[in-house]
């Protein structure tokens, strides 16, 4: 049963990943990418790592891919033309593909040494959320915090790159607005007829 499910989901992952590249419409590409992420989460569930599966959906499908879709929908580029141009780079693609294939072959050749049966998604009877947390906040605390700092730097960089100071823009000050009373806003005058103020 699990084997059938694995075969089905793995096939969907690979097929949808192929369609990400093959789709002519960029929005369709992103939609296929979302299906790829989603099915990969299904693979995580199959090996019992439900925490990772949910994180994959929350982070990649729920946030990252939404922004991808957001950006791609806004673009107005003739992607068919762009794709024809990319055909010139096929030797590079071939090279990268060959390197990947070589690495995969290396893994395949040594796979006898790597045991695949001892995998335990929830070691020591903890749920795998607890297991991940216990390792992440003790043994790998430094790496975890470094990853956080790197993300922070990236975020600050993005803000600095896009921040523009526009001096003549009126900004709403909510505190000022709601703090305004009738007495501050206007005063009553009683001008005599024919005189004005």
């Amino acid at each position: 049963m699990a084997l059938i499910a694995f075969g089905l989901i793995a096939a969907i992952v690979i097929l949808s990943a192929v369609f990400v590249i093959a789709a002519r419409n960029p929005v369709h590409s992103v939609l296929w990418l979302i299906l790829t992420f989603f099915s990969a989460a299904g693979l995580f569930v199959l090996i019992g790592a439900e925490f990772l599966a949910m994180l994959l959906i929350v982070v990649y499908v729920g946030a990252v891919a939404v922004l991808f879709l957001f950006v791609v929908m806004m673009l107005d580029v003739d992607f068919v033309e762009l794709k024809e141009g990319t055909l010139r780079y096929w030797p590079f693609a071939l090279l990268v593909g060959l390197i990947f294939l070589g690495e995969l072959a290396l893994v395949w050749a040594t796979s006898g040494e790597i045991s695949t049966t001892t995998f335990d998604p929830s070691p020591g009877g903890d749920t795998n959320a607890e297991a991940i947390g216990a390792v992440m906040y003790t043994d790998y605390l430094l790496l975890f915090q470094m990853a956080g700092v790197i993300l922070l730097v990236a975020m600050i960089g993005a803000i600095v790159l896009t921040l523009r100071h526009r001096p003549n823009v009126k900004r709403q000050n909510v505190g000022e607005q709601t703090g305004r009373r009738r007495a501050d806003a206007y005063e009553m005058k009683d001008p005599a007829p024919g005189e004005g103020i």
Binding site: N25, V27, H28, L31, I34, E50, F51, M54, L55, I57, V58, V61, G62, A63, V66, L67, L69, F70, M73, M74, T127, A129, Q172, V174
Partner: protein, 364 residues
């Protein structure tokens, strides 16, 4: 007969799950029909109108009449629309809204420690969060596939809005997870036994935390309004600006699916608030163990179901009142509220609760 059941054997489990799914779907659909009517009646009541009152006694059958109308109308797909995505978007919205209910525990089980739920996930709350974060796709895809300006603008608005408010919802959920120490929804509910004072929204047994947790409940409620595109945050479908936003080009059955998904999501958010903050199926007054043991377990389960539904109904009533009373936010105000007020507040709350749990421990 018993032979037939035995020969089913391994099929029994999947069949049972299928039956549960069918039951959930049926109950949800019928409840939605009447909740929709309640929504319109409350809205009408605030405006001193009568609301729908023609179909059936007090208009009780109005939703069913609407349902028939939507089914019988012709499906119009605009020229230049992306057909597959156009049809797929409402189906996705509706499917996801139903899928989330698989993890919602609605009542205590007949044996101790179990609950009435289709799938008691270890990461139940994360599952709900993940599914509700996928809800934005239906709207974006619908808006984009319509190949029309207003839907597209509505889709863009909703994408930014839903991603923004998910952040504060996530932090509020973390405060509750910290208090419970588990992401299992049944554990979260069972952490709130013993009456009103132990519900997470009040949590008097961890006294100083009530100062944090009640505001978190309010933040979750308001973020839930934004997450489900309800007024006052219904900018994706603001009728005065965008006609009907992302669903301008939709009619008949696809529109019905969008609306169904939207209301299912609202009820789901009510259920999440009930589970996270209002004690789930526990009543406001705790029964002593003698009384609880003397009662038949089925009665306890049914009374749990009753409380759960009553709380959802109350929260839905609040949703309807907010829709009737509060004027729509402007878009920059919406973003300001989400990023400049809710995000820092909920982040600070996570720190406070984490510190409290670490140094004082939680009295369950």
């Amino acid at each position: 007969m018993s032979n037939a059941i035995e020969s089913l054997g391994s099929l029994w489990g999947p069949l049972l799950v299928l039956g549960q799914i069918g039951l959930f779907t049926l109950v949800l659909l019928i409840s939605i029909a009447f909740l929709l009517l309640l929504d319109r009646k409350v809205w009408a009541g605030v405006m001193m109108r009568k609301g729908p009152n023609v179909v059936g006694p007090f208009g009780l059958l109005q939703s069913f009449a609407d349902f028939g109308k939507f089914l019988l109308k012709e499906i119009v797909i605009p020229a230049g629309a992306n057909k597959f995505v156009f049809i797929f978007a409402p189906i996705l919205t509706c499917t996801l809204a139903f899928a989330a209910w698989a993890a919602i525990p609605v009542a205590p089980g007949l044996e101790g420690g179990t609950s009435w739920v289709i799938s008691d996930l270890n990461v139940g709350i994360l599952y709900l969060f993940a599914i509700s974060s996928l809800g934005v796709y239906g709207i974006i895809m619908g808006g984009w596939a319509s190949n029309s300006k207003y839907p597209f603008l509505g889709a863009l608005r909703s994408a930014a809005q839903m991603v923004s408010y998910e952040v504060s919802i996530g932090f509020v959920i973390i405060t509750v997870i910290l208090m419970v120490g588990s992401m299992n929804l049944s554990d979260i509910v069972n952490n709130q036994t013993g009456g009103l004072q132990n519900w997470h929204a009040f949590s008097f047994q961890n006294f100083p935390l009530v100062i944090v947790m009640f505001p978190m409940f309010v933040i979750f409620f308001i973020s839930a309004l934004a997450e489900t595109n309800r007024p006052p945050f219904d900018l994706p479908e603001a009728e005065s600006e965008l006609v009907a936003g992302y669903q301008v080009e939709y009619g008949s059955t696809p529109y019905l699916l969008f609306m169904l998904g939207e209301y299912l999501n609202i009820v789901l958010m009510c259920a999440m608030m009930t589970i996270l903050f209002l004690g789930g199926w526990h009543g406001p007054i705790a029964l002593g163990p003698e009384i609880a043991n003397a009662l038949p377990p089925l009665l306890l389960s049914l009374s749990g179901l009753f409380w759960f539904m009553l709380k959802i109904l109350f929260l839905f009533f609040l949703f309807a009142m907010v829709k009737a009373i509060v004027p729509r936010y402007r878009y920059d105000q919406l973003m300001r509220l989400g990023w400049k007020i809710f995000l820092p507040t909920s982040l600070a709350a996570v720190l406070v609760v984490a510190g409290y749990v670490t140094y004082f421990g939680v009295q369950a």
